[in-house]
């Protein structure tokens, strides 16, 4: 059986993968977001409110949290439509800080079984106890995380193979040229940023329920920077890229404690080196294309 440490590491990897996939989706359409942690936070709170305060079942609370985060994505996408590159990146950062600071003053509590439950500003939001009350073990919850991650990943991988996937990549590579192929670039960007909000939201909801406690300062910019860096390290040619980034950082650097005190230095250095030698990450489009051809040839040879 898996020991507790391993379950903890895998759970963390699973939850952070949602942020990594979320930042990746935005990268696919050609923009950089430093603010995907905002959607993680929005959903952590919204799903916690639904399950701990309104008595909703767990899965409904997760979907609700993700939906609210997706709505948040829509709210971010519309006013930022006309800005690109650095300006978009700064707008996402500002948005995420606004969300975090708003949560610092957000208080909404109700009495549940004689106790006050709910977000209490900077004191955080305690007692999101659904999985303990339902007697779900850490191992079982890991399966829930991995199951939702598998479904999310499967949907993204499917879309990448379709015409819609090609359209999103066109928008990311050359938006002006994409328009000349009949693509509604604005619609593609709005839909992608909203979907990215939703994906981060699934992770946020899982995080809140596993930890039973969230507070605004968890959702600071470093969370978003990590999410972004995973795609840049792992590669932007396939949705497996950001997951590879997560595996390298948490799975190798953090969990083996190989560089204990120097982990962030190694991580930051890795990002810097890769941005120079492989700007689109390890699994970039050319690598994905070579792997695909290799697999096809092997398949044909069998």
């Amino acid at each position: 059986m898996l020991d507790d440490h391993l379950i903890g590491v895998l759970s963390n990897m699973g939850m952070i993968s949602f942020i990594a996939l979320s930042a990746y989706l935005v990268l696919v359409v050609g923009e950089i977001s430093f603010g995907q942690q905002a959607f993680f936070a929005i959903s952590a709170y919204a799903s916690g409110i639904a399950s701990a305060m309104w008595g909703w079942p767990f899965l409904a609370a997760v979907l609700w949290g993700a939906a609210i985060a997706g709505l948040g994505g829509l709210l971010l996408a519309i006013p930022t439509l006309r800005i690109r590159g650095l300006y978009f990146a700064i707008a996402t950062l500002a948005f995420a800080e606004m969300v975090r600071l708003a949560l610092e003053i957000f208080t909404y509590q109700v009495e549940v079984d004689g106790e006050l439950v709910g977000p209490d500003g900077s004191e955080g939001f305690r007692d999101i106890r659904y999985i303990y009350e339902a007697d779900i073990s850490a191992g079982e919850f890991l399966l829930v995380i991995l199951g939702l991650l598998a479904v999310t990943l499967a949907i993204i991988l499917w879309i990448e193979r379709t015409r819609l996937g090609a359209i999103l990549r066109m928008v990311g590579e050359d938006p002006a040229l994409a328009r000349l192929q009949g693509v509604n670039v604005n619609l593609a960007k709005i839909a992608t940023v909203a979907a990215a909000g939703l994906v981060a939201g699934i992770g946020g909801a899982l995080y809140a329920h596993l930890n039973t406690y969230v507070e605004p300062k968890i959702f600071n910019v470093m969370l978003g920077v990590h999410g972004l860096a995973y795609g840049l390290i792992g590669g932007l040619g396939t949705a497996f890229g950001p997951l590879l980034g997560v595996a390298l950082d948490i799975g190798v650097l953090e969990s083996t404690r190989a560089f204990s005190g120097y982990r962030m230095i190694v991580f930051g250095g890795l990002v810097a080196v890769l941005l120079i030698v492989r700007p689109r990450g390890l699994l970039d489009e050319a690598a994905v294309y070579r792997i695909r051809r290799f697999l096809l040839r092997k398949h044909a040879g069998d």
Binding site: R163, L164, A166, L177, R179, L180, V183, E285, A286
Partner: protein, 250 residues
Amino acid sequence: MLAIDGLTVRFGGLTALEDVSLRAAEGEVLGLIGPNGSGKTTLINALTGIYEATGRVRFREVDLLGLPPEQIVRLGVVRTFQNLRVFRRMTVLENVLAAQNGMAGMRFADLVGGRRRDAARRERAQALVERVGLGGDADRLAGELPLASQRRLELARALVRDPALLLLDEPSGGMTPAETRDMTRLIAALACPGRTVIVVEHKMALITGLCTRLAVLNFGRLIAEGEPAEVLRRQPVIDAYLGTEAPVDA
């Protein structure tokens, strides 16, 4: 089918196109020539909604000026680029498939469906890739292709929308004479009764081999228009291309 009247494009104080009026009939191949900087590409950019312009452009009873590029494309006005623009990080076939976006009768299900969905359009994309001679490269990344092949890809990508008005901006730019001959043959095979082609070119072999009519631009103005052999003999056209001789004192 295409009627341009008083088309003017200004960038700040610079007038890139001034009061250009031009007609293109259904099915004709119109050559657009002129020295560098005479406004040929600007004209194409104005027609495809990239530059803001004043005047009037009617295409099949629709005013094009002011429409966003994606809508103009959906009306059947498709172009290629002088400075080659393909999606380098996508495969050849993906480039062509993705260019079918927003065509008549296309539904959302066709965007997210599997390989079996939308088979007719997929086959058409595949057939065009083969027709321009890239059948063996269909699954290669477009950025890895040599220049001449990328030009062919641009052509396949434009044709996949079955354009009524095809705007080719220096389709043989950077090609060897042999490649240029192939390209000329390819373009000649594209002209058909329902399709108007406007070709911007410098190479006279391509122009005289293809075009039924020529329009000549110089410093943003239309200086000549007519049957190719006759237009090329006109003095203002020769002057524009060769420059006027400085008066020599006797």
